[in-house]
């Protein structure tokens, strides 16, 4: 798999804080098409990691490599990061700024300096894939929480990044909104987009991710496959995390951990047959 983004010993501290590092010597690499869940309690460094990867923050130490090339501290260098690595913010209201959904989605592509036809094409595509075409002339501030979330994802999608980072996308969503979001993520992933999602929802991480990064107090505590991470009870306790519900159920039943509830029925059949 092609490597898209690599952090080498990257540290970051906020100026106004008491010298505590928001991110401490982080080394990690993201590859094409991966589905990464970023776990960790509040203030563990997930959002800082995303803002650094997106080029909004500049590393205090260390280097970020984009497609093998180091990214300099200058504005124009960080612009490449912003172009290739899209970031969907946790609070949609922070991100929404235009008067209609269509204009809102066009903000990013217009900033890339594309021709109006190309911008129009990208906006149409993004609206199409997030099922937003019927809201095109509505004001984003009047939409519901789930619809706003889809608009902010479309915002970033229209910039056609290679990696998309989503900061707690399922917070404030109702169950229907959540399942729609999951479908959207599934579809983006199938189209080859690299996705990294910061979340508190371990059930979602277990169901969806093929790789998990666990952050704790500004450090990357673990980088591994879901099976490996959730098997480490000591790690989960230390980082304030829990095992997914299905994992716990599987343990009680004494069967291998499964990703979806439906898979349990197959085990039942196997059992009764045996």
């Amino acid at each position: 798999m092609k490597e898209l983004l690599r952090f080498e010993n990257v540290s970051y501290h906020y100026h106004h804080h008491d010298g505590r590092q928001a991110l401490d010597h982080l080394s990690v690499s993201l590859k094409q098409g991966e589905r990464i869940a970023v776990l960790g309690s509040n203030g563990a460094g997930k959002s800082t990691f995303f803002r650094l990867a997106n080029g909004v923050f500049v590393p205090s130490e260390g280097t970020i490599f984009l497609e093998g090339l180091p990214v300099g501290p200058k504005e124009k260098h960080r612009m490449q990061l912003r172009h290739k690595v899209g970031l969907v913010f946790q609070d949609p209201d922070v991100q929404l700024l235009a008067g209609t959904v269509e204009e809102e989605i066009s903000f990013g592509p217009m900033n890339l300096g594309l021709s109006p036809e190309e911008v129009r094409r990208r906006v149409e595509n993004a609206m199409e894939s997030l099922d937003l075409t019927r809201y095109r002339s509505r004001g984003p501030q009047y939409l519901s929480g789930g619809e706003k979330r889809r608009v902010v994802i479309a915002d970033v999608l229209a910039m056609e990044p290679a990696i998309m980072l989503l900061d707690e996308p399922s917070s404030n969503l109702d169950p229907a909104g959540r399942s729609l979001l999951e479908k959207t993520l599934e579809q983006l992933s199938r189209e080859g987009m690299t996705l990294a999602i910061a979340t508190h929802d371990v059930d979602f991480a277990w169901r969806w991710a093929d790789r998990i990064l666990v952050f704790h107090e500004g450090r990357l505590e673990r980088d591994g496959a879901p099976q490996e991470v959730f098997a480490d009870k000591a790690l989960l306790d230390r980082c304030g995390l829990e095992q997914p519900l299905l994992w716990q159920v599987a343990q009680v039943l004494g069967v291998p951990a499964l990703r979806y509830p439906q898979e349990f029925s197959e085990i039942e059949i196997v059992r009764t047959l045996a």
Binding site: R51, N54, G55, V56, M79, R82, H83, G86, L87, F89, D91, D93, V94, Q95, L96, L97, A98, G99, T100, E102, E103, E104, S106, F107, G108, P109, M110, N111, L112, P116, V119, R120, V123, R138, G139, Q141, Y142, D155, V156, M159
Partner: protein, 302 residues
Amino acid sequence: MIAALLAALVLYSLFAGRLPALWLGIVCLLSGGFLFLLGHHRHDGILVMDLYARRSRLCRENAAFKMAAGGGLLILSICTASPWPPLVLFGFLSAVTVIGGKLEWKSYISLLSLPIIFLLLSSLTLLWDFCQQFPADAAAVLPFPGGWLAVLPESQQRAGLVLARALGAVSCLYFISLSTPMPELLTVLRRIHLPEVMIELMVLIYRYIFILLTTCRQMQEAAASRLGYGRLKNSLRTTGLIYGGLLGHSFQRAGACFDAMESRCYTGQMVFLTRSKPLSVGFALLLVLPFVGMLIWILLTL
């Protein structure tokens, strides 16, 4: 309530000595009662206005034309020397805004009540003068320490004209803002090359006014649920705390919003993709005819 009393008072002063007493009383009572029943001023007026503009049927019409026509009529209504053309314009444009845009009369009048309070207050000061000698030709006189407060016929003339012009102008502005959503206004302003800084400020203010008002309402509700408005002393304190907190919140918010804009490659110029709306002939005639009519009136009465 205040608007109703003010309206009755202003109309009394305006027509005192010009109408028979009975008619004067009827006019005052009617206008006061009308405003009292319908003119409930709402605090979320800005949010409501934008919503009405989006829902209005006139929203489909070309924004540049609406702004040009509204602006042109506004200038003409300020230029007239007689109070009648602006008053007719007021009625006409209100009808266009309400009937053409399928807005409710009640909401239109409720939105009008805010500027009308300002207009009435300022016309009161225009109407009543302080005289040291007893004014013989005054239409209404009140004794006042050191002299008299009086309404003179010439100030009636002047206040009537000012009130009529202002009403006409307000109807023009309401026509524009209740039929054209803010983003379209901004596009037009950009096309006529208003300085970029001003436009960006307008975009940001438009966007964050929603956030600020929503935050403010949430904080007020949260404070009310903890009995923050129980007594006068408490409610003053709560109000102070909320506005102080709002400032802090806004700063934080502004920082977060700027990060979000930067993350989408913002480099200092805010541009969006926009669609143009065609101009329909019927609508154009609807506004061009009164424009020409007023222009002719002004030229004839010069």
